[in-house]
């Protein structure tokens, strides 16, 4: 047992240390880059990403592990191991990572249900608005100009925008692990996190359009805001019109899950393209496509529902019971677009986060101002969401506030985009990734402590 574990460790080590230099050399020698080498890079990143999910064992989200292992692999050059430098240059990996983030936003869109958002009510909406506005304003107008004097206003805008969106996954996980998902606090936090994703994406649309056109007059901002809103509303309106039509005829050609999957991806990809075409980020389009595809048509029933259906059949006790159970199972097997998209996500999404981690240049942090910048922004990131907690009404405001603190996927997408557009420098990029890591790393223990304290006080959860 112990021996075989050693063997396993040695193998994984060999995989990284032995195979990669061969690659690095073969490319250094100037040979053409073949697809096969990209396949190996892919395998390496997938393995690294999966090993990184070890952090889930200590209550941390997988995305944090992927980021950190990316940072480690991408900075091995600092200790003389340059074997991963070639991955950074691989255009196919870059393409797959970009496709991955489009898929991720599509998934987030699929999970966000417009109807459900309406139900969460005014409180979640208030928390979301305050939690978006306060960090955005303080990032853009206070902490940016103060800690990074002399940079362009667009850089400050991106800095502010990065701090807006709460990472719903991380928060949900902590509540789930402690069996608190049904509390009022959790419901508000989860609702607000979904709404601030939408608000964040609108801000992203505006900010990136400003960065692209260069203008930042009130008129431009107004125009871009209008365009972004019109796109989202238009996409949702026409999408809701077209989706059932497409579904109807495509399912007549073939009603299998392959068709459903393809139809969903066609929506995702063409909306991503359209968004880009009118000057918004492709991910905004992918998110809209996810919102459009009505989960009611697509989403698998929850597992308890399968059991309930099977139970109903059993209760009826008819002679054809077995055939009916068969049918129930088949029905449930038919309906999961979200589940069908998942494997594509498994393949592509970790690429984005490992690659994001790899592009952090640790040497930029060996520099007091940047380190102070990271810490300063982290403080703003904390305070902004704690303020948001105060408008949550008659609940534990601290729990709501702390629950909103983690930044994650959406924030990282913002900084990556900012860097692509040339408004976020390498050092600011590294600082912001550190902010995301810190908010993600610090929240779970604090939230756990608050929730356990609440338990002791009331002994009767809501």
């Amino acid at each position: 047992m112990k021996k075989s574990f050693l063997f396993f460790v040695v193998l994984v080590g060999l995989f990284f240390v032995q195979v990669a230099p061969v690659l690095a050399n073969s490319e250094a020698a100037g040979s053409a880059h073949s697809f096969a080498e990209t396949f190996l890079w892919l395998a390496l990143i997938l393995l690294a990403g999966r090993l990184a999910s070890l952090v889930e064992r200590i209550g941390q989200p997988a995305v944090l592990g992927e980021l950190i292992i990316g940072v480690v692999l991408g900075n091995l050059i600092l200790v003389g191991l340059g074997i991963f430098e070639n991955i950074k240059q691989d255009q196919f990996i870059a393409f797959l990572a970009e496709l991955g983030v489009v898929i991720l936003l599509f998934q987030i869109g699929l999970e966000s249900n417009i109807e459900r958002m309406k139900q969460v009510g005014v409180k979640a909406f208030l928390v979301a608005c305050v939690g978006v506005i306060v960090p955005f304003i303080s990032g853009t107008y206070l902490i940016g100009p103060w800690l990074l004097p002399g940079l362009s206003f667009t850089t400050y805008l991106f800095l502010g925008a990065t701090l807006t969106a709460t990472s719903v996954g991380i928060t949900a996980r902590v509540f789930q692990d402690l069996g608190k998902l049904q509390t009022k606090e959790a419901q508000i936090v989860l609702g607000a996190a979904v709404i601030d994703d939408v608000l964040g994406l609108i801000i992203l649309a505006i900010v990136s359009a400003i960065a692209t056109t260069g203008g930042a007059s009130l008129l431009t901002i107004g125009f871009i805001t209008l365009e972004a809103l019109l796109f989202l509303i238009g996409a949702i309106f026409f999408g809701r019109l077209l989706a059932p039509l497409f579904g109807k005829y495509l399912s007549k050609i073939h009603s299998g899950s392959g068709m459903k999957f393809t139809m969903a991806l066609i929506f995702c990809l063409s909306f991503a393209y359209l968004a880009q075409k009118i000057g918004l980020a492709p991910i905004v389009g992918a998110f809209a496509a996810g919102l459009v595809l009505d989960p009611v048509h697509f989403k698998d029933f929850e597992k308890p529902e399968i059991v309930r259906d099977v139970k109903t059949v059993m209760a009826n006790g008819s002679a054809s019971g077995l055939a009916e159970i068969h049918e129930v199972l088949e029905q449930h097997e038919e309906k999961h677009v979200e589940d069908l998209i998942k494997p594509v996500g498994y393949l592509l999404v970790p690429l984005f986060f490992v690659m994001t981690g790899m592009s952090v240049k640790l040497e930029t942090l060996f520099n007091l101002p940047i380190l102070l910048l990271a810490l300063g922004i982290t403080v703003v990131a904390f305070l902004g969401k704690l303020v948001a907690g105060t408008v949550a009404g008659k609940v534990d405001k601290w729990i709501v506030g702390v629950g909103m603190i983690p930044r994650g996927e959406v924030g990282l997408i913002f900084v990556t985009l900012g860097r692509t557009l040339g408004v976020i420098s390498d050092s600011v990029f590294s600082a912001l990734v550190i902010v995301v890591i810190l908010t993600t790393l610090l929240t779970p223990p604090i939230l756990t402590w608050l929730l356990k304290k609440q338990d002791k006080k009331t002994l009767q959860p809501a």
Copy 2:
């Protein structure tokens, strides 16, 4: 109802006719190729591939539809519509198509079970061998030199190799549709089709190595054969050793389906890389990886088994019945690597076939010798497998022979590879794609007719 169908047709038409020229122009104007445009190409190809699956309605396999729609789209330039020419140049689409064929061979490998192959028995093995040797020899030594005089021996080798592998999917589908899957003939054909995939891939490994090194001496051939065999055997031996070990420790990190999926892909991609590294085609490695991952560990139970398990729980009628059903369903939900890979296949595999179709240059067929070549090779393709049927023992030899005729995925992979290596010219490529289309198109009606004739004769199927 009719109106909404018209609306749908108009929409799809608009998608193709309106959006694509915009793209074509924007690229003609010299603007940088952005990822977003590749996203739209992807959506277009996916839509085309799905519309092509309409051929399944008339009893034809989806791959045939994908090929044909590819041929149509890729040759619209002949009637003045050059809007799809840019797709052919898109390197990211090319990469995804290559990844798609790797995934496809991995899937075929996963479906081929070494144990099951042993059981099919001597007859299937005989049929497979004859069905590989006769078309290969007659392609390489007779029809090639006769119809394409003056070309290199390597070209003839590829021509022969293309004719070896039966497309198991097409044949299985016809037997299935007529409820004949359990007949002896069907079992022999299906077993032989799997074995000739393996034989075909060994031949491919040899032939492509010859094409790469240029040598074709008996010594070289012997060496390459040995290398290919050693790789397959080595991959299977070490793979079977490593797979459980990897599975054991990776599943300790995380036991969800994401981990299973990632582990499978890591195997697939690294074996593909290794194969390329020692001079074989990446798909040979992917196939070996599929063989290695034991379906017993991974494959979902058949649906009847789910029902059986649920039934057992019901029969026990224990108080905790509901929880147990829940558990059974969860167990069954846990185990499907093949199902997890499927969506990735839905996304990537059609790309390969539509793109293969698109690279057929129809104008090369406006030329009597090439047309005769296609027909001549088709005749050899038919005869070679009919001869194989004669060694099938006491069954309807015609049914076995005709059942082996369809060529498909593997053959297409061979010609594509041959063209990449520069030994298959555009015209020979087009002719061979036509051969694949003809064998696929003609077999289902003939086989259906034979099976119905057999029914009338015996009225008691085996």
